[in-house]
């Protein structure tokens, strides 16, 4: 736990729904992410992945439990936590009336990038090959282009931690692959990536460690090899089902 950049302990998130009453969207989850790894949160839709990531990014407040990012308690100093992270989710869209370059510049400044902002923006534009549409308004970009600009926006202030909620959703194979490659590069540069997906193959390809989550509860955590070993299944999908059945049998 010493070199953990993200530490989540006994995280519970309860909300009240008029139709369903009290809903435990996240139910006593504990895991940690290390520096320079891609940690995948794997689970079906409605498992609690997005709620977990929104809580880590301080958009939501934990009902109980603790969230620490770079050793900072999210409840005590949410601004410092937000400064250390880049958060992408389907709920964090880009400003449609700004160009890609203006977007990057704006978010670098708002997030307090310590260096030369203009230089950093050009660097990221070059890095992600955004040059051909850097001066096009976001509302005129394709979905794949927007997703790349979103990823650039998340990383523009060079945070040590990236929280990416299903970043390949809605993308074609090539664009999804490009985003995954980019996430790998960011990991290789020493960043911690907390990444959620419901696509088993994506988790297999990309993640160093995986946490399987279902109905707000953690079913298992470990490297792909450890999960395979624990379940005796070669494919992650089969391992997921086995863990689910085991959980059901345990009550």
């Amino acid at each position: 736990m010493q070199d953990s950049t993200i530490q989540i302990e006994n995280l519970v998130k309860v909300y009240h729904d008029r139709a369903r009453g009290e809903v435990r969207a996240v139910d006593d989850i504990t895991f940690s992410c290390r520096s320079g790894e891609i940690f995948g949160l794997l689970g079906p839709n409605g498992a609690g992945k997005t709620t977990t990531l929104r809580t880590v990014s301080t958009v939501l407040e934990p009902s109980s439990g603790t969230v620490r990012v770079m050793g900072i308690d999210a409840r005590q100093d949410p601004v410092a936590v937000r400064r250390s992270i880049g958060f992408y989710s389907s709920t964090t869209a880009l400003f449609p009336r700004l160009t890609a370059r203006e977007t990057l510049r704006f978010f670098a400044e708002v997030n307090g990038y310590p260096g030369e902002v203009r230089q950093r923006v050009e660097e990221v534009i070059h890095d992600l090959d955004l040059g051909s549409y850097a001066d096009v308004r976001v509302d005129r970009l394709s979905q794949g282009m927007r997703q790349k600009v979103s990823l650039a926006r998340t990383d523009i202030h060079d945070p040590p931690v990236l929280i990416l909620d299903e970043p390949t959703t809605g993308l074609d194979v090539l664009n999804a692959r490009e985003i995954r490659d980019r996430i790998s590069i960011l990991r290789d540069r020493g960043k911690t990536v907390l990444f959620s997906t419901h696509i088993m193959a994506e988790a297999e390809k990309l993640c160093d460690r995986i946490a399987i989550i279902h109905e707000g509860r953690l079913l298992g955590t470990g490297t792909l090899e450890e999960i395979r070993e624990r379940t005796g299944e070669r494919y992650l999908e089969d391992a997921f089902v086995k863990l689910l059945l085991r959980r059901g049998a345990d009550g």
Binding site: Y15, V23, K49, L53, S90, L94, F95, N111
Partner: protein, 403 residues
């Protein structure tokens, strides 16, 4: 701000409308007035004459009156009156010995009152003429006949005339324009961000949420103030350029603001825009999309412009008591600035009251921003929650989304 300035509706309502509205309104108004005048001049009311056999027998200039059409009618005044009622005549002039005149007219249309006015004026002329003639016969000179002579002289300067006319119109349009100029940016920066899903992008940035809200608030206030100032400039310019050609020969009012009034107009614009923006943003922050935001802000918009409509009440001016009423005080301050009558105490009260209202609303906005639903974009407007935000220091509500 850059994003705002690329939104068509914001540019339209915060910049274009305040600039072009007055030239268009003035052009429309004076075109209508000219048309009405032309139409009035062409209109010849049909008047039946009871008594004399011909209009030539009528006294003085009435005999030569061509702006009415004299028609022969039955000699019976009862039947002549019935003819007016059935629209075949606009009026009937009954001449009785003496002479005495009685006029029946249809007051429900344009032609009847016009006939009454034209014939009435001609009769007044005839009476004056006849009285002078008789006075002369009795050896009374025109000077003695007049008894006294009254000369009325308007001593107000052209600028004072212009200021008075501006003070009647400017505060009302100014208030409306500031409200309109703030309306779209306020809704766009809150409910619009929710609809576009950019709200959470900002709320997950490495700055305090109050700082994000303050930046949005300053942008909205800037646009509201700009709309107000553009409105003042456009209105002053429009009145001086459109009214000037119409007033040739007469004393032309000078529509210009004195140097001393400009800081006060600027102050009013800032105070009003700051109040309106704060209120609108608080309400719109409860909306999930632009349309819902508009619906929530609309009653506040009406509340903000309503006091300005009271300005037409005679005798209403900026004084200690009226300066206590938010929205009305800023409109009255504009009027006082234009007239050059703004006193120090009412101005200070206006600033204090407006600043207090702004501070209260900012406090509420800050409290609301602490609530989880404000960041997550799923807060609902309920009166107790809004009230609580004004009084409760740590009002936090849950409103999470399942993932």
């Amino acid at each position: 701000m850059r994003s705002f300035l690329r939104e068509r509706q914001v540019v339209l309502f915060s910049i274009a409308v305040p600039i072009v509205l007055y030239p268009l309104l003035m052009w429309g108004m004076f075109t209508m007035m000219s048309l009405a005048q032309e139409r009035g001049a062409d209109l010849r009311p049909r008047v039946g004459l009871v008594g004399p056999s011909s209009p030539r027998d009528l006294p003085g200039s009435l005999a030569d009156l061509e702006s009415v059409e004299w028609l022969a009618v039955p000699a019976d005044s009862q039947r002549a009156a019935e003819a007016v009622g059935t629209d075949s005549l606009d009026a009937v002039l009954i001449v009785r010995p003496g002479p005495s005149f009685e006029m029946l007219y249809d007051g429900s249309g344009e032609a009847g009152p016009l006939a009454r006015r034209r014939i009435g004026n001609a009769l007044e002329d005839a009476r004056e003429h006849e009285l002078r003639r008789r006075a002369m016969l009795h050896g009374v000179s025109p000077t003695s006949w007049e008894y006294f002579h009254m000369k009325a002289l308007d001593i107000a300067s052209r600028r004072e005339h212009g200021s008075f006319m501006l003070s009647l119109m400017l505060p009302v349009f100014f208030t409306v324009m500031v409200a309109v100029g703030s309306f779209y940016p306020a809704v766009d920066s809150t409910a619009g961000d929710r609809e576009r899903r950019t709200w959470e992008t900002l709320m997950s940035c490495g700055v305090s949420r109050n700082a994000v809200l303050a930046a949005k608030y300053l942008s909205v206030t800037t646009l509201g103030t700009t709309a107000g100032l553009l409105n003042v400039g456009s209105m002053t310019l429009t009145l001086s350029t459109i009214l000037a050609p119409l007033a040739s020969g007469a004393q032309m009012p000078a529509f210009s603001l004195s140097a001393g009034s400009i800081p006060l107009v600027l102050l009013s614009s800032l105070l009003l825009a700051a109040m309106v923006s704060a209120g609108m943003m608080i309400l719109a922050s409860f909306a999930r999309d632009f349309r819902e935001g508009q619906a929530l802000v609309q009653p506040f918009y009406i509340m903000a412009i309503l006091p300005a409509l009271l300005l037409q009440l005679p005798g209403l001016r900026l004084e200690a008591l009226t300066a206590l009423i938010p929205f009305l005080n800023t409109a009255l301050l504009v009027r006082a600035a234009v007239l050059g009558t703004a006193g120090l105490v009412p101005t200070a009260i206006t600033v204090a009251v407006s600043a207090t209202a702004i501070a209260l609303m900012m406090r509420a906005a800050g409290r609301i921003s602490l609530q989880e639903g404000a960041a997550a974009g799923d807060m609902r407007l309920r009166a107790p929650a809004l009230l609580q935000s004004f009084i409760d220091k740590r009002s936090r509500k849950e409103g999470a989304h399942a993932g």
